[in-house]
Structures are given as structure tokens and as C-alpha cells.
Symmetry: D2
Subunit: 245 residues, 4 copies
Amino acid sequence: MTRVLVWNEDIHETKNDEVRAIYPKGIHGAIAALLSSQSDLSVRTATLADPEHGLTKDTLESTDVLIWWGHLAHHLVDDAVVARVQARVLQGMGLIVLHSGHLSKIFRALMGTTCNLRWREADDREVIWTVAPDHPIVAGVPQPLVLPRHEMYGEFFDIPTPDELVFVSNFTGGEVFRSGCCFKRGKGRVFYFSPGHETYPIFHRADIGQVLANAVRWAHVQTPHAVETRTSPNAPTNWFIKAEA
Amino acid sequence: MTRVLVWNEDIHETKNDEVRAIYPKGIHGAIAALLSSQSDLSVRTATLADPEHGLTKDTLESTDVLIWWGHLAHHLVDDAVVARVQARVLQGMGLIVLHSGHLSKIFRALMGTTCNLRWREADDREVIWTVAPDHPIVAGVPQPLVLPRHEMYGEFFDIPTPDELVFVSNFTGGEVFRSGCCFKRGKGRVFYFSPGHETYPIFHRADIGQVLANAVRWAHVQTPHAVETRTSPNAPTNWFIKAEA
Amino acid sequence: MTRVLVWNEDIHETKNDEVRAIYPKGIHGAIAALLSSQSDLSVRTATLADPEHGLTKDTLESTDVLIWWGHLAHHLVDDAVVARVQARVLQGMGLIVLHSGHLSKIFRALMGTTCNLRWREADDREVIWTVAPDHPIVAGVPQPLVLPRHEMYGEFFDIPTPDELVFVSNFTGGEVFRSGCCFKRGKGRVFYFSPGHETYPIFHRADIGQVLANAVRWAHVQTPHAVETRTSPNAPTNWFIKAEA
Amino acid sequence: MTRVLVWNEDIHETKNDEVRAIYPKGIHGAIAALLSSQSDLSVRTATLADPEHGLTKDTLESTDVLIWWGHLAHHLVDDAVVARVQARVLQGMGLIVLHSGHLSKIFRALMGTTCNLRWREADDREVIWTVAPDHPIVAGVPQPLVLPRHEMYGEFFDIPTPDELVFVSNFTGGEVFRSGCCFKRGKGRVFYFSPGHETYPIFHRADIGQVLANAVRWAHVQTPHAVETRTSPNAPTNWFIKAEA
């Protein structure tokens, strides 16, 4: 069983009628519903308004994969909570960052770059292509996956080179985007997936649910290596010889 | 269930008393025995002397992961069989190449490089370090894994940069080696693992068995993407629009 | 001074009036002309019809970077010549493979994969985006570089993951393509660049000339490491200690 | 001409007689001297005690490559200066981080990981192997480069997978280390090189000087791509069409 926590800032939904009509239970609620049919996943949700944003030490310790959606309120996420999430990722928790989460503090802290990109709200068609056919995240995903209307996100996307590039998108207006990117950080795994603008019903689609379920399973490192990474240990000569005996 | 085929040229064992004493059932027999306790793996073996080297079309089609050990007889492996194995890997079969298999035709064909390296038979101690703590191949593997005596394989190892570098080895004589390397080729996965010289009882060790079982599971791509890769298909404008409807 | 050899099969130009109108001196002649203004490059050409396809041992030894265009006659390129070119690349010669050269014997031998892709001749607009802004190949290249009409090449492109992904293309019909890919093989460097269909005047464009000149300089490894890679040398214990003294 | 700035915290040298005996003009002075024979490099130095640590906006703007040595005083480097250096790297300045700089704020901010490692002060012999023979950083570097006595730095080194792995070290005690690692971040380049403990005369060696000079040239991106990365620009449909005309 993989324990998933879906985090959402939950602001558009409360302030904007159009968004609330699409996501009456919030984007977090829609994502949780998308994953609810997967018998190997147990799903909880948390939002910015919760105490400690719902990201307490205990909650993170009992989370295998955290899904993150944010946009308007990146600056309102407490730095101490961001540091706690980062430390937990480096110890082996999976992290899936969606859409406008590219500018979240947690994603920028893990990437080390600006994570800036080009964008346009203009109902472009987005066509998402698999470029890693061996990857578990693409299992059962159509080639291509077509979003009839979506916000454009375009290159240059200022991220480190992904450890694995999984999806690349075409937009009607002529842009391309690295829309599915895997990163390994410490003992943990991070997946950035660009679909999910709040004014389009992206998180009601079964194909997007398939990608997210696949991504959760990929990001869940079942047995992170026991090697100590929280400190820089002093290692006397022959420290490992007993293991050899 | 993952269907494993262990392939061995099986020559040292028949000609050399020292090797036969270590591997009375052949290196292939020892590897099959190492994996026999894994309830999710079904294991068969094949050798150079079998018709078509035991690598017929039907056998390959019913194999999820092929393990390869060869040394003296690389040149005796039929080119048509090599092409068949390569095509099957590119369609999604996993391949694990062991030790002196670095100079096998199949590995060189998949890599495109000479795959040459430095070597010495001198009872060096080999200490194998995990450098990818999130990787499924290292689950349960000690840090470090120590082989008290082994043949030295050293850099420069003339391979393409691995898609994932998993293990790096230290040798008493001062060399290092990229001893565990993951490659993705087409819809398939390839793992090169350098331990396994015929005059040392490497394939009787539980820790090596753990690496091999992990590697088999990693190399078994359960659902390679349905995208066609055997041809270069002509794609008329709007060919994918029906999928969108 | 970088010594460039432009190789072209030179068949379309001799058989097809439309192509000859665009490239009266052959595609090789056009590429040579594009590079002729670069004072640090000396450029020669060779074609399929030349003795040994113009790729003799002496010629290759005096070439720093080889540019390759082929399409109809991949199967007519002699296997021994292909092996000679491959060996020279692994020893440090640069190789730039253009457009339909993706199915050439030399490119497939170096990649180990089918190198298949999706394609369409339909006057798509191709928009080429830089995704590696630190890379020398993109210096002075517009963002984006727009080809008003070109053949479509689309994913999945069956290549190993590039060591560096430099360009990604958008096509009007909805496809994307990894159109600029760097690979390191042995002591040499390989750049695949997809523009250059014979029925479009691609190799008369200054921006394409800029990319090619940049690519030639990148692919020219001025001082490949002296390490021996043509054999697997035996290395006695302490073989390198004199160097230490 | 490449404008190099060598930064050193300059504390060991002022407090410890042993270190001062090795580096009477400071580690920064020794590195500057090592590079002084390179006619294409102009070298300045700065230390922690300088106003703004010698890393003012003007100084950074007129620096092509920054070399960083720190150990005891990482916590004393001002966060605002670190942010300024990081922004400058992402805009195209090269950064070379030496030895104990692995725990500097600037390196950790760019990596996103703990950058922890294993260590031992015990006069191990370090043998440094080239694993990227095409790379400009290894030009003229011996295979192997041997440091008769050095501090041990061992795996697991908690960094993202390097974009290019250039050197791997062997230590007498049995450890290995990824001792030369290239990273691309934004429009800039970062090289981590582990030799350089303060109690060994590493920065008086000509072979180390060769590596540093090569690294400076590699890290100097002559023409970072003009693409805007400081913001996420809105891009109206057809915004790039004029460029096409």
C-alpha cells in the first residue's frame, strides 16, 4: 500500500466561480477521486489553510508520495515547512509537482534553478508525447495524449537536465515543453508534470489519472538504501571490514 | 511472474578443473540456483552448445529477462542470433550482462563502442559502492559489498555514459570501475554488472544473488509502451485526431 | 584549424530536377559553401561514388569532423567503410549526422538502436527550440529558429537518451521531435541534427549554417585523452606507480 | 580573456601554522599562482573578510568564472551574497567548487541536496581516474593522477546525478568517490573537484593546475543563449512570427 498525500493551496476554488464549477471539491479533491479506484493507493489531502499547512512531521513521516498543486500562494508557504518537506524527500519520500507548482518553494529548492518558463492562456491544444517507452510512468498512456484546450507552457524551462525525460508537449501556437520530467534527489524521487491549469477539467480525465497513478508508484521508493545521508560521517580506516568477515 | 533465461557459454567449466570445482553445474546452473528462492521468478538456462545457442525465436519471445555470461567464445556466437537478441531487447526484453560479457557481440552491438577496459588477475579485493540510493537494484545490498578476492576491471571502460550509474568499485591495486550500469535501449533495459570471474565463487554469494534478483525485476519492463518502433511509420496530418474524439 | 569532411550520397541531386534546382552543386556543395566563411574551418567533400566512398584511411585520419547526409543509399555504403568510420569516431573524430542520416549504417552502429521515427511530407512549419542555453551549439541561434516548411520528423525517435538534448522541434501537425542531440561515444562526439530534407532549401540558411559551424567546433575534440581504448590492456599491480614518483 | 575570481574563506591559513607553512599566501594565493602562467586567464582573489566577502554586484558582473574554497565558515557567508552568486551562475557565470566547499551554502543551494559525504583524515593515497576521455577538463591530465597522501572523501556523495562525470577516485582504505563532476544550472556551468585539503600541498601541483585551468575554460560559457530566464514571460500567440518573416 502506497500512502499518498495530495496537497493543494485551495485558493482559486474558493475565490473563482469558474474554477469552483470545475472543481467543486477542490483540485485536491479531484485528484484524490482520480486515484481512488487504485486499490494499492491510500489517499489523504491537505491544504495551505491547515495547521502547518497539513504537513506536520508526523504526517510527512507517514506519507510515501506527496502530490503538490500551488499557484497564487507560493510565498505564503512557511519556509520551515518547505525545509521539512525537502528533508523528507531527500530521505526517500516521493514528490509529484503539478503545473504551476513549478514556481513553488519546494520545487525551486530541490532544483536549484529559477524554474521559470514561457506561458500563455489561449486555449492551445496540447499534444503530449511519450519519449521514454520503457518507463513505468507511460504504461497504458496513449501516444499521443491530447488535451483539446490548455494553458501553454513553453521552453526554455529553467530546470536542471531531468534524470529521465518522459513527456514532451506540442502546443498549437508553435511551442514545445518538457512536460514530464523525473529527478532523483538524495534517496527520493521527484516527478514534474505540467498539465493541470485550474480553468480546464484536466484532473477529471482518466488518462491523466493513469499518469498520476503510474507516477505515484514510480516515486514510491519501496526500500531506500540504508546508507546514512543526513550527516557527513567520519569513517576510520577499515570501518567496513567487519562487514567483510 | 518474471521469466528469466540464464545464458552461459559453458566452456571454462568443461575444460578447467579449477572452474568446474567452483561451478560443478556451470555458471548458469549456479546463477539459476541463486535465483531459485525468488518466488516471482521462473528460471531456465541455455548454453552455446544448444541448437541456435538455445536462443530461438520462441524462447526469446517467452523470456522477460536474459542473463548473459561469456568469455572465450564471443566470436562463436552466431551473428544472426545476436541480431535476434538485439531486436528482442529493443522490443522490451531485459538483458543483464555479467563480467567478461562486456566484450560479447550483443553488448557491443547495443552500446556502439569498443567496451574495452583495463584488467588484472591478481586477487585484488573489490569493494563495491552504491551511488544511487533510490535505485531498486540496490535494495537490501550492503554498503559496501566486499569481494575479498576478484579479478580487477578498471577504467577507462569504453561504454556510453550509463543512463543510471548504480555501483562503483574500488580495487586494492588503486583502480576504480563503474561496476553497475543501467542502459535504456529502445523499449528495453540493459544492466551491466562486472562481478563474476570464473575462478572465484562469486555466484554462490547471497549478496550477489540479491543484486541479480533486483536487477531482473528492474529489467523486466512490465508494460513497454505500445508505440511502434520496428518501422519508421508515415504519419498523415491529423492521423491521431480520432484518438482525441 | 578544424578539418571538416562533408559526405553526401549525392543521388537525389542527380536524379531529381526539383532537388537539383535547389542544390545544383549537391547538398555537400551547399553545406561546404555554408561553412566557407568560417576562417577556422577547412572543408572538403566526398560522395558515395568516390573510391571507398571517399572515406579512405588517410582521409579519415586527416579529418577532425565528418558531416553525413544520406537517404536512398544507406544499404550501398560498404560495411568495411562503416566499421572504419566508427573506429575513427571512437578514437576522437567528430561526427555530425543530418536529417535522413538517422537510418544510416554508421549512426545505427553507434547508437545500437533502430533509430526509427515518425515522418510526413506535408509542408509543416517546424519551430526549433533551444533547451540547453549554456551549450556552444546554440550560440547565436535564434529562439526559436523557424523553418516555414519542412518534412515532419516525430517521436518516438528510437535513440538512446542523448548525453545532451539541445533542440526540440514543434510541427504544425501536432508532433514534437528531439531535433538536436549530442552523444559521446568512446573519445569522440556525435551530433544528430534533423533539419535538411532534400526538397527544401534548408542548407542555404544562415541560421542553419550557424548551428552547423557551432556543431563542428563542439564535435572537434582538440585533445582526446591519451588513454588507450583500442584494446583491453592487462595492467599488472603497481603499473602506474612510476607515474607517481 | 577569461576573468577568474578565486574566493577563499582564508581562516585555516591565519590560525594554523601547519597550513600557513604550506600556503603562506593563502589557498587563494596558491590557486592564483597556479593559474598565473595561463595567458588567456586574468585572475583576481577575494576572501570572507572583504566587504560583502569581495562578491559585490560589480565584481560578479565582471567575473566569468568563480572558484570557491571554504570549510570552517560556511555559516558565516551572508545569505544575500549567496543568493547573488546563485543568480549570477544561473545567468551564465561559471563556478568551480573545491574540496570542502561541498558543504558551502552556494553549492547546496545549486544542488538542492545535502551534499553530505563520508570522510577520513588518514593519509590515504588518492588515485584519480578519468572516465570521460572526450572532455576538455581532462586534456593533458595523466591517467591516473596520483595524490600520494590526501584526505579521504567517499561515497555516498549526496548530489544530483552529475550532467557529466569526469573523474572517479580510489582511496587506499577501500573507498571510491566521484571526484570531478560537471553540472549545468540555468545558463551557467558548475564543476565540483574534490582534491584540495588544507594540510596537503595539492594546490602547488602542476597536474592540479592543469585540471583547474581546463575547468575554468570549460566553465566559461562564452555566449550564453540570449533566452530570458529571469522571469516567466507571457507569450501571446504568434509572438515569434516576426522573427520568421
